[in-house]
Amino acid sequence: MASEIKSFQENIRKSFIWYSLTPVIIIVITAVVIFISAWGISLRMSTINENEDIKNRIDSAMNTYYSMVDKVSDIVVDSEDNNQEDKIFATLYRATSNYDELGELIILDGSGDTVFTSGESTYPFLTQRGMNNWGVWKMAKRHPDETNTILFEGKLFIVKGVYENDKLKYGIFYIVPSEVIRNQFKGEEKSVLITDSLGWVYLYNNKALLDDFGRVDPQLENASGYTIIDGHIYYGKRIDSKKGISVYTISDVHRSIRTIEVIVLIIVIIFIGIILISYRNADNSSREYTKDVKKIEQAFEAVQQGDLNVSLNIDSSTEFQTIGRDFNQMLEGLKEEIAQNQELAENAAFSQVKQLESQFNPHFLFNTLDNIRFMAKIDAKAADKMIVSLSGLLRYSIRETRDEVTVQEDLHNLQLYLNILQIRFNKRFSYSIDVAEEIYDCLIPKLVIQPLIENAIKYGFEGRETLDVKIRGTQHQDNIIFVCEDNGAGMDQALLVELKQQLEGEKNESSHLGLYNIHRRIQLMYKGDYGLNIESEKDKGTLVRVTIPKHR
């Protein structure tokens, strides 16, 4: 699960989407599912209930007719009675008065002659030859003295064969008025089919569910549940009445499914809209909410880059306001501390510089004094000059409290030093000074050139009679460069490397204090790429270059 770290804004945006959209989607999907299930259940229940209701209503009508036929059969059997016809009519009317339709009652004797008829119509399948063992008649004969229902040529018959001594005496045929049965499911929204027990349809309110023969579509037969007919989905329920009739109630699920499809489509479209809007909103609000974090990030980044002068002004919320205020305070504290530290460091550097400056070479003093004593004997004038020069040097070294002096001042001091050296070494030592006049006013650390000459004399005389030292001062770009070049003995490679290494270090424990001290002072005073550079070759001479930033 290694994933790259994302920005705070991205995370906030994701959380917005995640926590706002997901619950909505889940709730809506759940709602849709519940809705569909509830719809399915209610469809089921209503289909089953209506089926039951219709069946019960039809059953009650059929029961009436059955009992009427039974009563009529009793009357017919009781042949004693001579006003049979009136009695039959009375029974017929009494039974059917509630239903507004009389229906048709036909009574035939065993040989097919009409005994009684309530209407005018004649039915060839009852009376014609060859039909007395077919259809309605067959039903009467197959179940002697039983009342049965048969659907024949589109009419629903209640049939009873009245037998006497195993011989068919009468056939009682009652044609159920179809209006009465139809009324039992009048106004029914669902498809209703009334069939006989074999699936031949008697009444229907939806022709689409019948096959070419006028039977229930085989798919629906006995179907309790969902069925597909010609690509239409139906929910059907069948219930069989004891009177040889089956009632089908069928709901066309198809249209509802269409509706649901449309609803789902609309929901999907709304969702797409919501998702788009949410994405945009999440984008905007995450940007809005993380604006302060961005500010904080930028402030920290600036501090990281070294800019301590940033300040964090947030007033959008109390939390971030506190953070901003505290940050500012912290930064102030930091700045103060840095300033203090800087001061301390400067103090330290200053004292170090002072210390380094004060290291007046005791050898030089000793040698000079020794020379003066000697000179006082042979050349009092020279001795006097040396004493004057030395005292000037000492005065400069002690009295001059400034760290920096102009080039001119330092050169003056250098002259005093060179005077002493000239008297001391006489013809063995020669020098030349070539400093560009334009840098005369520039500031340099005091006593910066003198140690170079000191160094030249220290190493240059080794095994030599004379030494020539050239001092040059020039301006190169923004820097002042002093070069001290001698034609002395030079240094061997090992010594040179050692010297260079010492210049790099911060402390010096060796005896090459002069050069090191200048280098260190320059580095402490001017931070940057300034200081000393030594080149030397054995028997050829040494060149020391001092680089100082030009300033006045």
Binding site: M131, W134, F152
Partner: protein, 367 residues
């Protein structure tokens, strides 16, 4: 660290919720779909419980008989209506098709190996010529070929037989279906070959020694095709319906269709060809691969039973195969018709040859 943990656990929680929701939803969906599928399959199974009958008979002919059969036996029947050739094909390919009801013995004869041999318990009561069981068939009814004319359109034209169809006034007004497609048309083709191709040139074919000069017969067929003017129809129903609704003046069809049209109140008349009428029985054929042989046999017995045959003869316009059933008053007694007795084996043998010859002539005609 703690925050991250919490965040992670929050995310985890979210995932758990989603997983739960998905589970719930799929549970519902699977439940609903499962129920639906179960229902559909159960219903499919129910359909398979029925006796499946393929039949070229018109629905109105079959309906009362099927109804009565179901009431009588309690066996439910599923009927597939289609032409004879297609019906044979279904019998050959699908063992779930239990029997074929209809189709003349002459047409179906060549496929006798596809059928189960069964001798109906009514066979003792049949006319001798319908007792022959050698083609694994039980003859159901006797169907003479007839001409049917539209009495409103015929005018002064006299038609009493095949010869009269060649009158120039009738060109393009004759309805005849392709014998390759319609079994009743094939009967007519056989009838023509026997009646018009007989050596006995006056057309009075002698009942006991029928002979066929097919060359002579096809001369007539050729002439008739010329009279059709390109109108060779695709099914027998197009023939009788075409005449009944006035598209054609005269049609070559079968007696029952003509009677049905008559009883439907159409203005048509039946003409028995004076050159001779071939009457071939149509049969009931049980698929030899049937899984419901008992039901199928019950179906055959029911159709040949006395009551059924009476009903068929009285109300459905067919001639019964039973000796104890008299025919409808609307049909002419056989004694008054010039009947031609055909050699069934010979006709069945020649079927392919004759049909291809017919096709050749018809093709030549078209070209």
């Amino acid at each position: 660290m703690l925050g991250k943990l919490k965040e992670r656990s929050l995310q985890k929680q979210g995932r758990v919720y989603i997983a739960l929701a998905v589970c719930l939803v799929s549970f519902f969906v699977i439940g609903i779909l499962g129920r639906l599928l179960y229902n559909l399959m159960a219903n499919e199974k129910r359909v398979a419980d029925k006796l499946v009958v393929v039949s070229p008979h018109p629905v109105s002919f079959m309906e009362p008989l099927i109804n009565e059969f179901e009431i009588e036996t309690g066996i439910q029947v599923e009927v597939i209506s289609c032409g004879t050739t297609e019906a044979i094909q279904m019998i050959e390919e699908d063992e779930n098709v239990d029997l074929m009801w209809g189709g003349s013995v002459l047409t179906v004869g060549p496929y006798k190996d596809d059928f189960l041999s069964y001798k109906s318990n009514a066979s003792d009561c049949l006319y001798p010529q319908f007792k022959d069981n050698s083609f694994n068939t039980n003859c159901f009814t006797d169907v003479p070929s007839v001409l049917m004319v539209n009495t409103d359109l015929i005018g002064d034209i006299k038609i009493s037989g095949y010869e009269d169809l060649l009158q120039p006034e009738l060109k393009g007004k004759i309805a005849f279906a392709d014998p390759n497609k319609s079994s009743s048309s094939y009967e007519h083709l056989v009838n023509m070959l026997y009646a018009m191709g007989s050596d006995d040139s006056d057309g009075n074919a002698n009942g006991d020694t029928p002979s066929v000069n097919s060359e002579k017969g096809f001369e007539y067929v050729n002439a008739l095709l010329k009279q059709l003017d390109g109108n060779l129809l695709d099914s027998s129903s197009e023939v009788y319906e075409g005449v009944a609704n006035g598209k054609y003046v005269v049609g070559l069809t079968f007696e029952e269709a003509a009677l049905t049209m008559l009883s439907a109140g159409k203005h048509v008349r039946i003409i028995y060809m004076k050159e001779g009428v071939v009457s071939t029985p149509d049969g009931i054929y049980i698929n030899k691969n049937t899984k419901r042989a008992d039901d199928a046999k019950a179906f055959v017995d029911f159709m040949l039973s006395y009551d059924t045959q009476v009903y068929v003869a009285q109300y459905l316009g067919r001639r019964s195969v039973r000796t104890d059933v008299s025919n409808s008053s609307e049909v002419l007694a056989k004694a008054q018709i010039n009947m031609i007795e055909v050699d069934r084996d010979f006709v069945i043998e020649s079927r392919e040859k004759w049909l291809s010859e017919f096709s050749d002539i018809e093709k030549k005609r078209r070209d």
